[in-house]
């Protein structure tokens, strides 16, 4: 049996999974530390794409537009955390969810005002169009770049959280914010820096994505559903779990497209339902 179509489909799935992961990672990090379900996470990824479009128009350089978009989306995230979320940390979590929903709507409409209703795109750099032979199929470098970036983001986040002083403070805040505060950890700064990081990763994801698939108003609403499902399956707030769950969703979506295209759309909900029935706390969740 020729396995190359399946392997090719798996790679396509890994590409898709990496995009989900670049949303889900921010979602997981922010939920883990702040206990805020950030409904605006996918909208920030889309905003990253729009930012990259503008930075590309100014600089003419795809590679420079990526860090610029990441930083600017991170700053927008930071600003909305400081101004809109911080005042309501003490009230019920529902209000914070509603606030992030409002942020998503505001960003969505501001994007429409700024960049219009038409989808925007950055041309794919020629170097990323070069194709390489893998398993007898040709694959362009861009797809490999996205998959590698996804993995690199996971490794970098794991190292940052497990091996640095800042990471130690984050973990302390993650576990018990009251005790962390009694140990003179400024949890407010931790919250803001985590929010910045989570948003910047999604901003970078958007800047990478926009070279292949365009961003348009409302795209975030479409992507956030998959990203939520990923974090729910993973167990809210578990980074390794979220990475693995992204891969499970992305690859199985892709394989089902090949073998059972008719239930392709149903699939992610099916996986979620089954995993919630078997392990309500998520595959990697604690408790």
């Amino acid at each position: 049996m020729d396995l190359s179509p399946i392997l090719n489909q798996i790679i396509t799935g890994l590409y898709r999974a990496s995009i989900y992961w670049l949303i889900a990672s921010g979602l997981t990090l922010i939920f883990g530390v702040l206990r805020v379900v950030n409904f605006a996470q996918a909208t920030l990824l889309v905003l990253g794409g729009y930012m990259a479009f503008t930075f590309y128009a100014i600089t003419g350089n795809f590679w420079i537009s990526i860090p610029l978009s990441a930083i600017s989306v991170g700053l927008i995230g930071l600003l909305s955390e400081r101004l809109l979320l911080k005042p309501i940390y003490k009230v019920e979590a529902t209000y914070q969810l509603l606030m992030t929903f409002a942020i998503a709507l505001i960003i969505n409409d501001l994007a429409k005002l700024t960049w219009g209703k038409l989808p925007v795109l950055v041309p794919l750099p020629d170097i990323l169009k070069i194709s390489v032979e893998i398993f007898g199929r040709s694959l362009i470098l861009y797809v490999i770049l996205i998959i590698v970036t996804g993995l690199a983001v996971y490794i970098a986040m794991a190292l940052l959280i497990n091996n640095t002083m800042w990471g130690l403070r984050v973990r302390a805040t993650w576990r018990r914010p009251e005790i962390a505060e009694s140990l003179r950890i400024n949890t407010s700064t931790i919250y803001s820096s985590v929010f910045f990081l989570g948003c910047a990763i999604s901003g970078m994801g958007g800047a990478l994505m926009v070279a292949f698939s365009p961003v348009a108003p409302g795209l975030g609403d479409f992507l956030i559903v998959s990203a939520f499902i990923v974090t729910v399956i993973a167990g809210m707030g578990n980074l390794l779990g979220a990475y693995i769950a992204s891969i499970i969703i992305g690859v199985s979506e892709s394989l089902f497209t090949l073998y059972l295209p008719e239930i392709d759309l149903l699939l992610i909900y099916l996986i979620m339902a089954i995993s919630l029935l078997l392990r309500p706390q998520g595959i990697f969740g604690e408790r």
Partner: protein, 456 residues
């Protein structure tokens, strides 16, 4: 029928169409009334008689006075969401038609007023408001097939004519008009016969045996793909359909998994009814991922609408056996003076070439004008009688409104992307190998909905 026989049949049909065109040219045309030179004798100062040549617009005296001095037309289009930029092409052309008519004396002396509403904000509610609050006399537009099927059945209750211009489901005319007898609906555009049947004639002659489909997952995509499969199999029994993929629409921006799946199935040819931004996205990604080097040919019936060719510019891909793309109306065809006048006016006014839906919106206003002038009143039965069987010259060419199902029959073209790139308000990759297929080859017709040149 032998090939020879078919060719002579083609000639006959061609002659018939030319005949219709000549007949129509003498009757109704969609140009504003002619500006004619006349000589006026005036009495100058001091009693001298001066002969002055003046240019004046000559109008015939209205044959009948209408009971009102403003005719209101309600235009329903997507004003929000991803289809809004697409629909803009229609609105622009409708505005142009209304201005032209008002500048040349209106309809039987009455001014025309256009009221545009968002068909995505509950089309039934919008139509009711147009009729009850705005007191419109006609409803036109509607791009979504789903909306056309929702609005159609309530037209008798609203007691207005619905000049459908855009939505492509064959059910609007085959079921609502013909089977259910809702005489209030008239459709100006070719339905999915274009997407599914005309394309089968193209596919039949390509060196491709293994076809795959990547289509939007709703009525339009499913019906088109079914028709394509059915009719291609009839025209060429040795083809295989190796994969069918459905993408959520609107909303899909990443087509990679569908492309790799049809490639895995060993497809040689790709059929897609993706349209607007989704068509542009699909073609760009298929080219970037290298699939358009593997596939021999691709067919995208609505791939040559203005938003798509402007979005792709010179990057519109070419395939070894052709990237076959079209639209129900393409601005450069036919090379008639009426079409040239329409395109020139549109480019001058809006800075870009018209899309197919521009032609429909524009013609719909003129069809309303023609109906009123022929009927001499706003009486519904008289208007229906005036429109049934009407032949109209329009930018797309001759339109004959088939009396049985109120479907306008007109010619449409398809071609493959060429090396030539021009610039009118943006880069446009031109087409070559233009196939102008007479309607008899792909229109299904009542009473049994067979295609005369295929299902015999």
């Amino acid at each position: 029928m032998t090939n020879e026989g078919r060719r002579s049949a083609l000639k006959l049909i061609g002659a018939g169409i030319v005949g219709l065109a000549i007949g129509a040219a003498g009757g109704l045309t969609l140009a504003p009334e002619k500006v004619r030179e006349i000589t006026v004798t005036q009495t100058g100062p001091g009693g001298a008689t001066v002969t002055v040549t003046e240019t004046k617009t000559i109008r015939e005296a209205p044959a009948a006075r209408l009971p009102k001095d403003t005719i209101k037309i309600g235009l329903l289009l997507p004003k929000t969401g991803v289809w809004a930029p697409y629909a803009k092409y229609g609105e622009e052309a409708a505005i142009m038609a209304v201005e032209e008519i008002n500048d040349t004396g209106g309809i039987l002396g009455a001014k025309v007023q256009l009221i545009v509403r968002d068909e995505l904000a509950d089309v039934v509610k919008q139509a009711r408001e147009l009729v009850e609050a705005e007191k419109v006399d006609f409803i036109t537009g509607v791009i979504s097939s789903g909306n056309a099927m929702r609005l159609g059945p309530i037209m008798p209750e609203l007691n207005r004519l619905f000049i459908l211009a855009g939505a492509a489901t064959h059910r609007a005319t085959e079921e609502l008009v013909y089977k259910q007898g809702i005489k209030h609906i008239f459709r100006l555009n070719v339905p999915v016969y274009y997407e599914g049947i005309l394309t089968a004639w193209i596919a039949k002659d390509l060196p491709v045996k293994r076809w795959a489909g990547i289509n939007p997952d709703y009525e339009y995509g499913r019906v088109s793909w079914d028709l394509f499969k059915t009719y291609l199999k009839k025209l060429r029994p040795d083809v295989e359909f190796v994969a069918e993929q459905w993408f959520p629409s609107p909303g899909t921006t990443d087509f990679s998994k569908y492309l790799s799946a049809v490639d895995a199935a060993g497809a040689e040819g790709l059929f897609t009814t993706a349209w607007a931004d989704e068509a542009a996205g699909l073609h760009r990604q298929a080219a970037e991922l290298g699939y358009y080097k593997k596939f021999k040919a691709a067919i995208n019936p609505m791939g040559y609408t203005a938003p798509v060719f402007y979005a792709l510019g010179r990057g519109y891909p070419q395939l070894v056996n052709g990237m076959w793309v079209g639209a129900r109306y393409i601005w450069f065809y036919p090379p008639t003076s009426i079409n040239k006048r329409f395109v020139d006016a549109y480019v001058k006014r809006w800075g870009r070439v018209p899309a197919y839906n521009s032609e429909y919106a524009y013609t719909s206003i003129y069809v309303i004008k023609a109906a009123i002038e022929k009927a001499g009143s706003l009486d519904l039965d008289a208007l229906i009688e005036a429109l049934e069987g009407m032949v109209i010259m329009s930018p797309v060419g001759v339109r004959w409104i088939r009396p049985e199902d109120h479907q306008a029959v007109h010619e449409s073209i398809i071609g493959r992307t060429s090396d030539e790139v021009i610039n009118i308000g943006g880069e446009i990759r031109m087409l070559t190998d233009i196939k102008a297929v007479p309607p008899l080859f792909y229109y299904r017709s009542p009473p049994d909905w067979k295609v005369p040149m295929i299902d015999r």
